[in-house]
Amino acid sequence: MNAPMTFGNDNPGSGTRERLVVIGNGMAGCRAVEEILARDPGRYSIAIFGAEPRVNYNRIMLSPVLAGEKAFDDIVINTAEWYEENGIELISGDPVDQIDRATQTVIARSGRVEPYDRLLIATGSDPFIIPVPGSKLPGVVTFRDLDDVDKMLAAADKGGNAVVIGGGLLGLEAAHGLNLRGMAVTVIHLMPTLMERQLDEAAGYLLKTELESRGQVILTGADTAEIVEKDGHVAGVKLKDGREIPADIVVMAVGIRPATALAKAAGLEVERGIMVDDHMITSDPAIMAVGECVQHRGTCYGLVAPLWDMCRALADHATDSPSGYEGSVTSTKLKVSGIDLFSAGDFSGGDGAEDIVMRDAARGIYKRVIVKDDKLVGAVLYGDTADGSWYFDLLKKGEDVSDIRDALIFGQAFASGGALADPNAAVAALSDDAEICGCNGVSKGTVVKTIQGGACSLDAVRSQCKASASCGSCTGLVESLLKITLGDDIQSGPKTVCKCTSFSHDDVRRLILEKELKAIPQVMQELHWTTPDGCSSCRPALNYYLLCAWPGEYVDDQKSRFVNERMHANIQKDGTYSVVPRMWGGLTNPKELRAIADVVEKYNAPMVKVTGGQRLDIFGIKKEDLPAVWADLNAAGMVSGHAYGKSLRTVKTCVGSEWCRFGTQDSTGLGVKLEQMTWGSWMPHKFKIAVSGCPRNCAEATIKDFGVVCVDSGYELHVGGNGGIKVRATDLLCKVATEQEAMDVCAAFTQLYREQAWYLERTAPWIERVGLDHVKQGLFDDPEAVAKLAARFRYSQQFMQDDPWAKRAAGEDAELHQHLAEVRPLEFAQ
């Protein structure tokens, strides 16, 4: 600034110059003053009120100060000399309490009254404090100004536990700082994904994993119930699920609210922020507002970049050369050392929007750009943000990217490479010894030779030279080589799980085990899914594969399940549900029948039907009534029949030797035992069992997935049967002598099917695909195989056999059954 010294000696409020009073000595207020001075240094006599007792500093650098990477002196923007040299009167440590528009004065806490010709409100935001019990305790701090940082540093000096509530930008920077300062840090975040406003699920997952590896505990989906007190100081945080986390300090970083109280009290128009026009003028022409406290064209900002544009427009107008502010596109970076993360624009996808995703699991990279109408509209980058500013530039300028569309995801260097913008051309230009597959060390020459030797599909290449057979990150390169070498003669390989991946079901299942993948976002990252969060085909499949691979460890992902499995009932064409309680082996008793009859009457079920699976189906139950229906059925000892699931459905039996004159064994008893062993197990598809007491086969065991036909000398075990559109009779698997052996083989066969079949493949098509011999080998080649498989099945069953109805009846996931609210327009309210 080159303003002459003499301005400092002016008598405020007098003379020819207009008096400009600024409320808020923060980033926007001071920047606005700088911009005005740069245009017309003599125009105003200026006074700035600041609530904080210090000069203006760079608020965003409080994070490095907390982390110990910077000192306060390093982050001062405007020194005391600056105010003096520019003749600005700084009244710090004295907040303005009132604006009197009638007399055009402001009144400060000290009682000082200051007249203005023009007033600028730049009060920033207030941190939001969640109103839980204990939120006002000593030791609960926010993260907004230097005093907050000092409080955190004082706590960190004593060591111990810190809890940060809020896993957004601010919260994570606070957590990082406290972690570096030696505290044990737990981050509590309400949403399932960290920084969910800036990151998609995939990037949020990578961030969480990285922070956990640095020793932070990250609890997502965690809702704070109260802050626990001990001896008048904070002692911990209690979650709604009952967990309690010890804390010596609690940082609330759940969001900010524009500081509008002063403006509102003065009668200015205020919605979420102080309403301003394109020149930052409020509803009173003498009053301007700028920064986080304003609402411009419906938007309130929480980042600094928009402030610079606002301040430019404000200064243009205040010096009589109005330009106008048109709103800002923002981008986010996280200031945590060692973590590269960038997000900008709209990444919600939408119609006509196309996602381009690139993942490199080995280097921990996830990149996603969103293109719509030939323009880049959003970008999320994790692990490699070098191209962030290039994407942001394309985004802000709204440039047509159709020419570089295919190369866009590879970044600026690649996309602007002219002829190389075609990825095939880029791959063609690679030398023969360039490495294509890092995992298996396969060069381009080898891949090309393999293709020329007759491998005409991705799968053939994978199996013959191993390129892209492990992590799959070079799939794109191999596909390019196929295209270059064969032109249109490429053959498509075996069915992939869905269009989100180039891997088949078998590959995915194998890699989940080999690489110990334990969460859906992890599978998608490691196996280079081409979509950010999968689709309705792969999500349920992955959920099942993980559940099967890691029993007791993997937490079922409800939102990846088809409605019936989420609601634990069968949806009907009118949107109501049918409810089928389990009747073991088709047996029932007066108590159960009475309970069912009562439910039918109490909830006005329009129909009850005896199913082909030997139980009763109650139709027409509304989703709101389901928990109550289940509670009533539970009370009579009945549990879910899983008639809705890709799971064990029912075990159908005949009456057998107990009553029937032809019966050879106790088929009913065995059926009950089989159902008790297998109920609750999740499967690739539905699974039905039946037991007939003799070869007359009244229970139709030979069209079931597993059928037992009793004979005098023991039990014939049949597999792979199916009713339905394409009837398939079972194949005879083996014959055993005892009930125990029949049970063991049943458990082993079921487990083999669970571990090997593709999701949504029933036993019949599975056996047709792999062959009965394959199944027999799997079960009998190794004399131990049956025992091992059965043991794995029984282990998994430990975690599966808890009645989902009981949990819902007890109130779990109640929101799935309840409406949000009901709208009753006046005319309809009685």
Partner: protein, 118 residues
Amino acid sequence: MIGDWLDIGPTDQIAPGNARTLPVRGGEEIAVFHTMDNQFYALVNKCPHKQGPLSQGIVHGNVVTCPLHNWNISLKTGEALGDDEGCVPTIPLKVDAGRIYLLREAVVAKRAAVAKAA
């Protein structure tokens, strides 16, 4: 301005990847969706195919797959995607300070249309 928007409660009532319903007395039930990307949308809770309850479908990207016959419906426009044809009305929605608002006019317009038809 606020008066034109109907406050239907805080955003955390709907977990990401889920939807919840809002019956309208004398009108058509509305389904409010929360996507994995943290966007919110509202549609009439009726699939354009055979009136399946879209609120019960699997949400991926900003598409919901109808639970009855797997049509994919765009949450942004209400249109059926792919080869299927049809469209379900959308209700303008905004999120402000952690609360969800629906355009009152659109919530009520549904009711008027139904009343007329009846």
